[in-house]
């Protein structure tokens, strides 16, 4: 099982952000996590990525216990993450951003000699990821000069370049226009072939289009989990989304 989380708890002082959350993501599937604001989705992703440590519970990557591993170690073990708020290297070009990603998961990421920028293998992987993400024409542009949608594409390109088995996508469609969103949705759909993808998203149309399985969270707990068509009809889920019943019609 590429990613399995069991009984995750996270407490901040007196506040419980995540309580007894368990889920798993299979190879070749997109498992979406949805829920109203404050449901604990961001905390969950941060726990899975290693930026927050659990109060209790276990996280396993391919049957390795990674609960106490820091983010970089998890990344090297095949976990990739795209951020909700675009997090790039603003003063480097698109190519350099992705090349760095490829370098991090490459064979000698911290070698102190030789030219990094002329490494053909890394450049090859980087360009492949850039093309996959649809940014090939913008290869030489500065990351800070990209449009919002292009920056999301760059995020995904960087994640791809690390050749992860498990991918955590944190609201990839946030703030996107319709046509841009369509491209990203198609991209995400194409990614799942040999990966396990956990998708946190608010855009319901995208979720129901992409998800193979769906988990709904509220107040830090899982209130429903299973096939999207089954989950959407559960009363607890409809109650959670009171105020937005159209989302489930």
């Amino acid at each position: 099982m590429p990613l399995r989380a069991s009984g995750l708890h996270k407490r901040f002082g007196g506040v419980t952000a995540v309580a007894d959350v368990s889920l798993d993501v299979r190879m070749g599937e997109i498992h979406a996590v949805i829920g109203p604001n404050g449901a604990g989705k961001s905390t969950l992703i941060n726990l899975l990525a290693g930026e927050l440590f659990t109060t209790s519970g276990s996280i396993r990557l391919d049957d390795r216990e990674v609960t106490s591993w820091p983010p970089d170690r998890r990344a090297r073990a095949g976990l990739g993450r795209a951020y909700q708020k675009t997090t790039l290297f603003p003063d480097f070009t698109v190519l350099e951003n992705v090349r760095l990603a490829a370098q991090a998961s490459g064979s000698s990421p911290l070698r102190m000699f030789g030219s990094a920028r002329a490494d053909a293998a890394l450049l090859g992987r980087a360009r492949a990821a850039i093309t996959r993400a649809g940014l090939a024409e913008r290869e030489a542009a500065m990351a800070r000069a990209l449009s919002h949608g292009e920056q999301r594409q760059l995020e995904i390109a960087m994640v791809l370049a690390t050749e992860p088995r498990v991918v955590l996508l944190d609201e990839p469609l946030a703030g996107m226009g319709l046509s841009e969103a369509r491209e990203i949705i198609a991209l995400i759909a194409s990614l799942k072939a040999d990966r396990a993808i956990l998708l946190v998203e608010h855009d319901m149309d995208a979720v129901f289009e992409l998800a193979d399985r769906l988990t709904v969270m509220q107040d830090g707990r899982v209130i429903a989990s299973g096939l999207p068509e089954e989950v959407r009809h559960q009363p607890a889920v409809r109650t959670a989304y009171l105020g937005n019943p159209e989302a489930f019609e």
Binding site: A49, E51, P70, P71, D72, R73, A75, R76, R81, Y83, T87, L88, F89, P90, D91, F92, L95, E96, L100, A101, Q103, A104, S105, G106, S108, P109, L110, R111, M112, F113, G114, S115, A116, R117, A118, D119, A120, L123, G124, R127, M158, T162
Partner: protein
């Protein structure tokens, strides 16, 4: 690979190197010694820039690495004899590196301002250690009566005593250090370091071990400061706790600023400018510190006012063209 025309920066470097090599032909001993001093502080500044400009770590304890190496030489210099260059130099550099490792392990657990304050505190701690404990003369300092030499089988093969010899050794070392730092900047490690500097969170989530990367850069930078400190002590013939003061770090930071944070060799220019400025000011004015202070303030205000501080001598590492994908032809 097609021929790439040399950039202005590279051309200037070649000119500078030629001037440096021919300097002894037309300069007096005084200026030779001044040039050596510039090279020494230049190595310190270049080393510091690895941590500050490349690594984003503003360190105020590099004076400690600089001074400790000098003290190691002083302690290893017996009485009125010369110390053996080939053993004391590595010893001093390793000593500084070890100290940088120790301090780095603590200081790098903190970020931003805390890091600056912690390095300041540790630097001063070492200052007081040498000041109060009486090691090598305590607050009075200690003399190094003879410059290091290379002694093999009872015969002196080389001595740093002559200003000319000293100068050429320093010049060679400076070139080697500049070359090493350039290589480092172009390497995967150098790029990883820049990534950690620009967006730590992203770098970490890509899989870069940020503590290890920063610590490595910090230790190398400390070792280079030690290299400079060894020769500073050798040239000056005297060590005192003041060598470990944070003012030494701050002065080096000014040099880095003048030369450009993103440039490997820029700090050498900064060293030349600041050291030269100090010489001139000290000769002309009694209150030279006041003027130097005003100049530093002016420099900071002007630079903070919006001038990009990429020094004009950026290394070709930063502007290197990427090799064409197919390998054939020139993009």
């Amino acid at each position: 690979m097609s021929f790439r025309a040399p950039s202005l920066a590279q051309a200037l470097l070649v000119v500078a190197l030629v001037v440096a090599l021919t300097l002894p032909l037309f300069a007096s001993v005084y200026y030779l010694q001044f040039a050596s001093k510039v090279l020494i502080t230049g190595v310190l500044a270049m080393g510091l820039n690895l941590a500050v400009g490349q690594g984003g770590m503003v360190s105020l304890c590099h004076g400690a690495f600089f001074g400790v190496a000098g003290y190691i030489l002083a302690l290893a210099s017996p009485g009125y004899d010369a110390a053996p260059l080939l053993t004391t130099l590595p010893l001093a550099v390793i000593g500084s590196a070890a100290l940088a490792f120790l301090i780095g392990c603590f200081a790098l657990r903190t970020r931003g301002v805390y890091f600056i304050m912690v390095t300041l505190a540790f630097g001063e701690m070492l200052f007081y250690l040498f000041h109060d404990s009486g090691i090598a003369g305590g607050s009075d300092g200690a003399f190094i009566n003879a410059r290091p030499e290379i002694l093999i089988a009872g015969r002196q093969w080389f001595s740093l005593d002559k200003p000319l010899a000293f100068y050429f050794v320093m010049l060679a070392l400076t070139v080697v250090v500049a070359g090493l730092l350039t290589m480092l900047a172009r390497s995967p490690f150098g790029h990883a370091l820049a990534a950690v500097r620009d967006n730590e969170r992203r770098a970490r989530s890509l899989g870069f071990p940020i503590f290890r990367i920063r610590l490595s850069a910090f230790v190398i930078s400390g070792a280079l400061a030690g290299l400079a400190g060894y020769f500073a002590a050798a040239q000056f013939g005297f060590v005192a706790p003041q060598m470990l003061s944070w003012h030494v770090s701050a002065a080096a930071l000014v040099m880095v600023l003048i030369g450009g944070l993103r440039s490997v060799t820029g700090p050498l220019i900064g060293a030349l400018v600041l050291t030269g400025l100090e010489e001139v000011l000290k000769a002309e004015f009694e209150n030279w510190k006041l003027i130097e202070g005003l100049i530093v303030i002016l420099l900071v205000i002007v630079l903070a006012g919006g001038l990009r501080q990429l020094g004009f001598l950026t290394t070709s590492a930063q502007r290197e063209e990427v090799a064409p994908a197919s390998g054939a032809g020139h993009a």
